[in-house]
């Protein structure tokens, strides 16, 4: 809020008031020094020059100043903030209501709700100015446009009340505790990556095992213990001995979405983390629709996980956790390279979404593969975006420079950090390819997902590239 300067300590709050209540700070507008200067000059120059007209010129300014300063009184305004709902989809506009209750007349009350990046005011102006009569109670409705997924907290309302003469203003911040979770639009996927193994519970996937089900598996001679209802009467009549039909049961599967939050490479299109989270949300919804159990491992500065579960509640739990995903740097757990064994259920499909930009995630995925997990990797690639933004490229260039510097025993030179283009970019792309080939040699399906590629196409490619892992030893 520009225009007001020179903060001055406000009056002490009355003893009866809550000590935790925000205390308005008194601020003086630019009129105060201007008018005071004019009045002082006139009062000094008038007698010196013997010009009574000077007093007449300055009198209006002096009267306004005196009235404003003497009449300034801290407004007693209560402000509450309420969101129409606490969940929204990207692109939605969420109404926000500011409840105002005042004991005094306020000629101009400016209100603004500072919004975190990702949210923006839906109205063309971020702030609103209202006039309140004494004892009035009213609501002001504003809109919040949800530009990006995430879990947001609207922490405060900034208010500024002006006196009628606009010389003194009172400014204070009202703490608020409104939360808003913005989900990415859930893309409905046409196909999903099928896990190799199924679990024990009923689901929509045809198991490789044989048992009670619908899908025909085989026809074989009757053995003691077979149920009579399994007898294939047509085959029995043709061969003269009893034959039974074997079927594949329908089971569910466990899918664990493995989200790399070590790095968010700016690709000029929302970042790799944003694309990964959007895809993870769509995958979670898709698998849960198929009655599979879905879990989540967030692997970044710290490891967070949700054990696989199914149903609508699981979807909301997953989405809430996904929305809180962000790059989290910590020096406490710098060498995190392994996922705790009990986090991942046996026979689960691990679907990793990662830009493969951090050595720790590379090591962790190799470790999971070595442990025999069914692993597929979607490489959320920042390469190939026309505006693959300078920030991302420069960041990658810095990483390369750091690595080069670390490789040298005692660098006599400082690594040059420059925007990545030409040879540096080619080197980076080659390095990523080497990583992918390393996984492919181990039998892991790795598919590069560039910005603009259809997720369904990427998933279909993953499905085509998959190979059953060798059973883990030991």
């Amino acid at each position: 809020m520009a225009g007001l300067t020179a903060p001055v300590a406000g009056p002490t709050a009355p003893a009866a008031e809550d000590a935790a209540a925000p205390v308005p700070v008194r601020r003086y507008g630019p009129k105060l020094p201007a008018y005071a200067g004019v009045v002082a000059a006139a009062l000094l120059a008038g007698p010196v020059l013997g010009r009574p007209a000077l007093l007449a010129l300055a009198a209006p300014f002096g009267v306004v100043l005196a009235a404003a300063l003497a009449g300034a009184r801290r407004p007693r305004v209560e402000i509450t903030l309420d969101l129409d709902r606490d969940r929204a989809i990207e692109g939605d506009t969420v109404p926000l209501r500011l409840g105002l209750t005042t004991a005094d007349r306020v000629d101009k009350l400016e209100l603004v709700v500072p919004l975190p990046p990702g949210l923006a005011p839906a109205d063309p102006t971020p702030a609103v100015a209202v006039a309140l009569a004494a004892g009035e109670r009213r609501e002001v409705e504003r809109g919040i446009r949800c530009d990006r997924w995430g879990a947001y907290r609207l922490g405060e309302v900034v208010a500024r009340a002006h006196d009628p003469l606009r010389v003194v203003a009172w400014e204070w911040r009202v703490p608020a505790a409104a939360q808003l979770t913005v989900f990415p639009p859930l893309e409905r996927l046409r196909s999903l990556v099928r896990p190799f193994d199924t679990q024990l519970y009923a689901g929509n996937r045809v198991a490789r095992q044989r048992g009670d089900g619908i899908e025909l598996a085989d026809v074989r001679p009757f053995l003691p213990g077979d149920r009579t209802r399994s007898i294939n009467w047509r085959a029995t009549a043709r061969r003269g001995t009893p034959w039974v039909t074997e079927r594949h049961p329908e089971r569910n599967t466990d899918v664990v979405l493995f989200l790399d939050s070590f790095a968010d490479v700016d690709d000029g299109a929302g970042g790799t983390l944003g694309r990964a989270v959007s895809a993870a949300a769509a995958l979670a919804a898709g698998y849960l629709r198929e009655r599979d159990r879905v879990g989540l491992v967030g692997f970044g500065g710290m490891v967070r996980w949700l054990v696989p579960s199914q149903g609508q509640a699981a979807l909301y739990r997953l989405l809430d956790t996904l929305m809180e995903t962000s790059v989290f740097s910590t020096a406490v757990w710098r060498d995190v390279k392994w996922v705790p064994p009990r986090v991942l259920p046996p026979k689960a499909l691990l679907l990793a979404l990662t830009p493969l930009a951090d050595d720790r995630i590379v090591a962790a995925l190799l470790d999971l593969r070595a442990r025999g997990y069914d692993l597929a990797i979607i490489d959320v690639s920042p390469v190939g975006v026309p505006a693959a933004a300078a920030a991302g490229r420069a960041g990658a260039a810095r990483a390369l420079a750091r690595r080069a510097a670390a490789a040298l025993p005692a660098p006599p030179w400082r690594p040059r950090v420059e925007p990545m283009d030409g040879p540096a970019e080619r080197l980076w792309v080659l390095e990523r390819e080497v990583r992918r080939h390393h996984y492919e040699r181990l039998g892991v399906a790795v598919v590069e997902w560039r910005h603009g590629d259809d997720v369904d196409r990427v998933l279909a490619e993953v499905e085509l590239c998959r190979r059953r892992p060798a059973p883990a030893r030991g």
Binding site: K31, A34, Y35, G46, A53, A59, A66, A70, P124, A127
Partner: protein, 168 residues
């Protein structure tokens, strides 16, 4: 409720026009004062547009220009009008600075401001006329005493306003 992007421009134009009128009137009588008047108008325009610190010097420059041409010994009603004009120009410039495009002002806010200005300008002109009448009526050489009297009167007004606010 929409933002009024033209409000600031209109208020600035109003302040500048008034300042220009206050600058031109003395300059017509004494052309040598034109640079001072132009400087004052420019300073008021700058205060309205971006730099509020220019408001005081701008008003002072315009006041000084007017003071030169005001007749010395006769009762000068022109001084009252000039004082009210200067005050209105200063208020318009301050309002223009205050009307930021990122704040959507509800119509009642604007109406309250207009109403306050409509009451203030004639009221303050009356105060200026009264001060001037006292000044003219007082014997020559008593202007210093009058200045102290004006300051005391203004302080008393402030005190009364403060008391009234507290008692309400």
């Amino acid at each position: 409720m929409q933002a009024a992007p033209g409000t600031r421009a209109r208020l600035t134009a109003g302040a500048v026009a008034l300042a220009a009128a206050l600058a031109v009137a003395p300059a017509v009588a004494t052309p040598a004062l034109a640079p001072l008047g132009a400087l004052g108008a420019l300073l008021v325009a700058g205060a309205a547009w971006r730099w509020p610190a220019m408001l005081g010097p701008g008003i002072a420059a315009l006041g000084a220009e007017s003071l030169v041409v005001l007749p010395r010994s006769v009762w000068p009603p022109w001084a009252v009008l000039t004082g009210a004009g200067l005050f209105l120009a200063a208020e318009l410039a301050a309002w223009a600075r205050e009307a930021r495009p990122e704040v959507a002002e509800e119509p009642p806010v604007v109406r309250a401001r207009l109403r306050a200005l409509a009451l203030l300008v004639p009221g303050l002109a009356a105060v200026a006329a009264m001060v001037l009448a006292f000044a003219v009526a007082s014997p020559p050489g008593d202007l210093a005493r009058l200045a102290v009297g004006v300051a005391a009167g203004v302080a008393l007004l402030g005190l009364l306003t403060g008391l009234a606010r507290r008692l309400r």
